[in-house]
């Protein structure tokens, strides 16, 4: 499980990706690409004002 400190950092992410590739193969890389796509969607939604960040 992840802690709140790790949530905002990339610490452990490369290790998790390598472990995922070993266990699940290249689907992990597809997941990483898909999460980058999700990031892009979130940024676009924010820029358009569709989904403002909640504080």
């Amino acid at each position: 499980m992840m802690s709140i400190d790790q949530l905002h950092t990339a610490r452990g992410l490369p290790k998790a990706i390598v472990a995922g590739v070993r266990k699940h193969g290249f689907r992990t890389l597809i997941d990483v690409a898909a999460s980058a796509f999700d990031v892009l969607r979130a940024v676009v939604a924010t820029a358009r004002g569709v989904r403002p960040w909640t504080t």
Binding site: M1, M2, L7, A10, A19, D31, R41, T54
Partner: protein, 145 residues
């Protein structure tokens, strides 16, 4: 509750299980749990009408509840961040809504806990971590995503 090994993924009963009605034996829901280092523990339950995602991050202690905007997108709780999305005819649309709702719930909960967003990098990495967890759990469920 029955155990089921899900084909080539070789999932354990802790990672995937089916809940049935004890009286009739009819399947009620399917639950997948994705938990690995570097990813929030994500539990997704699929019923006939809805998907429910619970994203667990240690240390989250939000100081507020959900507001009207969050409830409108299906966020039912911030501790732990929980989102429920109705299943639609277009499956990809509801899965995207589930991912967006989970991200927003975790962001709101983390911001309410620490009092800061983490900046652009923190926000992007939060999206990245949460979507990886949700997508992997959906894959355990057998969803095409």
């Amino acid at each position: 509750m029955d155990d089921l090994s899900l084909g080539p993924l070789n999932l354990t009963p802790e990672q995937f299980f089916i809940t049935t009605d004890p009286k009739t034996g009819v399947e009620v829901s399917r639950t997948a749990v994705f938990d690995c280092d570097g990813t929030p523990r994500t539990t997704i339950t699929k019923t006939a009408t809805a998907y429910t995602a619970i994203v667990e991050v240690t240390g989250l202690a939000p100081t507020r509840g959900t507001n009207a905007d969050e409830r409108a997108v299906g966020i039912t709780s911030l501790d732990p961040p929980t989102v429920t999305v109705r299943r639609q005819r277009d499956a990809s649309k509801s899965l995207r809504a589930l991912i967006d709702g989970a991200v927003r719930a975790v962001m709101a909960s983390a911001t309410s806990t620490t009092g800061e967003t983490g900046g652009p990098g923190g926000l992007i990495l939060t999206v990245c971590h949460v979507t990886r967890g949700v997508r992997n759990a959906l894959r355990y469920l057998g969803e095409e995503i």
